[in-house]
């Protein structure tokens, strides 16, 4: 028999007490990991969405800032327009390397039921685009043809192997992009030509016509020249072009960031309280246990155990309980966040992406270490006290 086996026997000897300590470790680990998964996942989503956007500045009609953020992050379809001429005005501004217009369209609500409803469609100009084109060239070596689309990770073909019907028009799903965890996963990208073709044919083929106002675009994506002052550029754009708002990509999703920060602060406070209370409760339980087992520990000192053995024995029990509770909490946390991800996104109002296996492994490790540290910290003082006690005094009535 060894220290581990002895500790296991002692744990099973009082299941209620062991259960309470494990439960505290469970709560600490589950809470910590869930918070980490949500917050870091949200940050990753935002970063990937911005990377996908590829632009330094996005110019939208004034008052549409919130709409475009909802569209990109949460996949809420939007429609807003500004004159196409804005592209030329912006292109003429010094310090701008490239500009590319985009059209934002939406499918009919429930049009293709049960695959993806309310799709957010982004039409781009292949002559000037610098976001989708590079990805297409890297993966396919050529552009999208008329009627071809690229979908976010959630888009799937509903008509046969490769086709999707939108506004009565059959498009071919050429490929799916990598997941971002944001509304871009429910988006579809195609060229301006495809957009206009869909619009013109929807008059006869669709239940509701897709209307694209003439000479209109929804947004202008800007790539700044290296070393440009983005704030100065934005100010210049607002002077040159009326009724528009330039949004710096670094400022994009500010409202979501604020929402996340607010939520994070609340969660951290709750977590700190939970952690503190758990430490106190575990400390009390171990003190009670050490006191109750005072005679027993005195006996094992009498038959040859060192003070160190008694100390290690108590901490071994603490560690085993922490590991059991912590591992269960972590497993449940990962499982719940993974399978309830869509519900969480819908409830919290911001997206998050689950981390890669390597990062998840690291976060799990940190969660376990936190659980182990917390329980051992709580058990430390009672363990020191009882191990230092005179065995004769410990065994007295």
């Amino acid at each position: 028999m060894n220290l581990l086996q002895l500790a296991l026997k002692n744990i099973s000897g009082n299941s209620f007490r062991s259960g309470v300590v494990s439960l505290c470790a469970f709560l600490v680990a589950a809470f910590a990991l869930t918070t980490t998964l949500l917050m870091r996942g949200a940050e990753t989503s935002l970063r990937l969405a911005l990377d996908r956007l590829g632009a330094d500045i996005v110019v939208v009609p004034a008052g549409s800032e919130a709409k475009i953020e909802s569209a990109l992050l949460m996949g809420v379809p939007v429609k807003f327009w500004m004159p196409e001429d804005n592209v030329h005005k912006i292109a003429a501004i010094p310090g701008i390397e490239a500009v590319s217009p985009q059209l934002y369209l939406a499918t009919l609500t429930g049009a293709s039921c049960c695959s993806v409803s309310d799709m957010f469609m982004i039409a781009y100009d292949p002559l000037t685009d610098f976001t989708i084109q590079p990805w297409l060239e890297q993966n396919f070596g050529d552009d999208l043809r008329l009627g071809e689309v690229v979908g976010g990770s959630y888009i799937s073909a509903t008509e046969g192997d490769q086709n999707i019907k939108i506004y009565g028009y059959l498009v071919t799903l050429k490929a799916n992009l990598e997941p971002t965890g944001t509304g871009l996963d429910q988006s579809m990208f195609f060229t301006f030509n495809t957009a206009y073709d869909i619009a013109s044919k929807s008059a006869t083929q669709a239940d509701e016509q897709l209307v694209i106002p003439p000479d209109s675009i929804s947004a202008v994506l800007i790539k700044a020249a290296p070393g440009s002052d983005l704030y100065a550029l934005s100010a210049h754009i607002m002077r040159e072009v009326s009724d528009v708002t330039p949004i710096l990509s670094s400022n994009m999703f500010q409202s979501y960031r604020q929402q996340m920060t607010g939520l994070l602060k609340t969660i951290l406070v709750i977590m700190a309280i939970t952690w503190g209370l758990s430490i106190v409760l575990i400390g009390l339980i171990f003190s009670m246990a050490a006191n109750e087992r005072r005679k027993e520990l005195g006996v094992i000192r009498a038959i040859g155990a060192t003070r160190r053995f008694v100390f290690q024995s108590l901490l071994m029990e603490a560690s085993l309980l922490a590991f059991a509770g912590g591992a269960t909490g972590i497993a449940l946390s990962v499982l719940s966040v993974t399978i309830f991800r869509n519900l969480l996104i819908s409830s919290l109002g911001f997206p998050f992406l689950l981390p890669s296996p390597a990062v998840l492994f690291l976060q799990i490790g940190i969660g376990l270490v936190l659980a182990l540290f917390s329980v051992n910290l709580a058990a430390l003082f009672p363990a020191i006290k009882i191990s230092r006690q005179d065995p004769a005094i410990a065994m007295r009535e």
Binding site: L3, E296, R301, A302, I303
Partner: protein
């Protein structure tokens, strides 16, 4: 050989006051003796036994075990010595409730042993059979009577083949018949193993089991051959 030299043990009661449990006791116990220390409750006999085993530090005086001053050793050395040379039988039920009879008996080998696992198993089963509980190997303490539990404690005390067996009122919680059975067991062990036994008791009638009797009162030896 056990030698206690002018041992004093005071317990602090707080606020500057203390009580003397042992007042200047000198005692030598030779190998192979069966010494019975009698005295009323509070006479200091249990404290004397605890001092002998190194379970409590004397306020002054020395405790020598085979010429080694117990309190000159580190905790690790002292625990090792205690594990190897001393077996302890307690007054109260001292088996670990979460361990079986077998696991309780092998417990001392967790702290130190000269035996390999097969030898440990063999010796444990032998001892459990010797104390008459061969069929109770996997029983838990709660499934045994007080007398049976005490037999297991004796088996545990002998596991590491100690030179000295210290017994602190081992029969005080037992009925008369079981008490005599346990005392017979002690005598048989003394005769068969030649082990040194130091036993404290408040029952004068048990004095006849020993080779020497010592009486204590108010922390001092008042009667008996306490010095060679």
């Amino acid at each position: 050989m056990i030698k206690l030299d002018d041992i004093i043990k005071d317990y602090s009661l707080g606020k500057g006051s203390s009580v003397s449990a042992v007042r200047g006791v000198s005692l030598q116990i030779n190998p192979g003796e069966f010494v019975i220390i009698v005295g009323r409750s509070g006479s200091g006999k249990t404290t004397l036994l605890n001092l002998t085993a190194g379970l409590t530090r004397p306020t002054s005086g020395t405790v020598l075990l085979d010429g080694i001053n117990l309190w000159s050793l580190s905790d690790k050395q002292q625990s090792h010595l205690r594990s190897q040379k001393i077996g302890f039988v307690f007054q109260f039920p001292s088996l670990l409730p979460t361990l079986t009879v077998y696991e309780n008996v092998v417990l001392p080998t967790v702290f130190s042993t000269k035996l390999n696992p097969a030898q440990i198993s063999e010796r444990a089963k032998l001892l459990i059979n010797q104390v008459g509980l061969g069929e109770k190997l996997v029983a838990f303490p709660r499934q045994l009577s007080a007398g049976q539990q005490q037999r297991v404690v004796i088996a545990r005390a002998l596991m590491n083949q100690p030179e000295v067996l210290l017994a602190d009122e081992p029969t005080s919680n037992l009925d008369e018949r079981t008490e005599l059975e346990i005392m017979d067991l002690f005598r048989d062990l003394h005769l068969s193993l030649g082990i040194t036994i130091v036993m404290v008791t408040h029952t004068r009638q048990l004095v006849s089991y020993g080779t020497r009797a010592i009486e204590m009162a108010e922390g001092r030896i008042v009667n008996g051959n306490h010095r060679e």
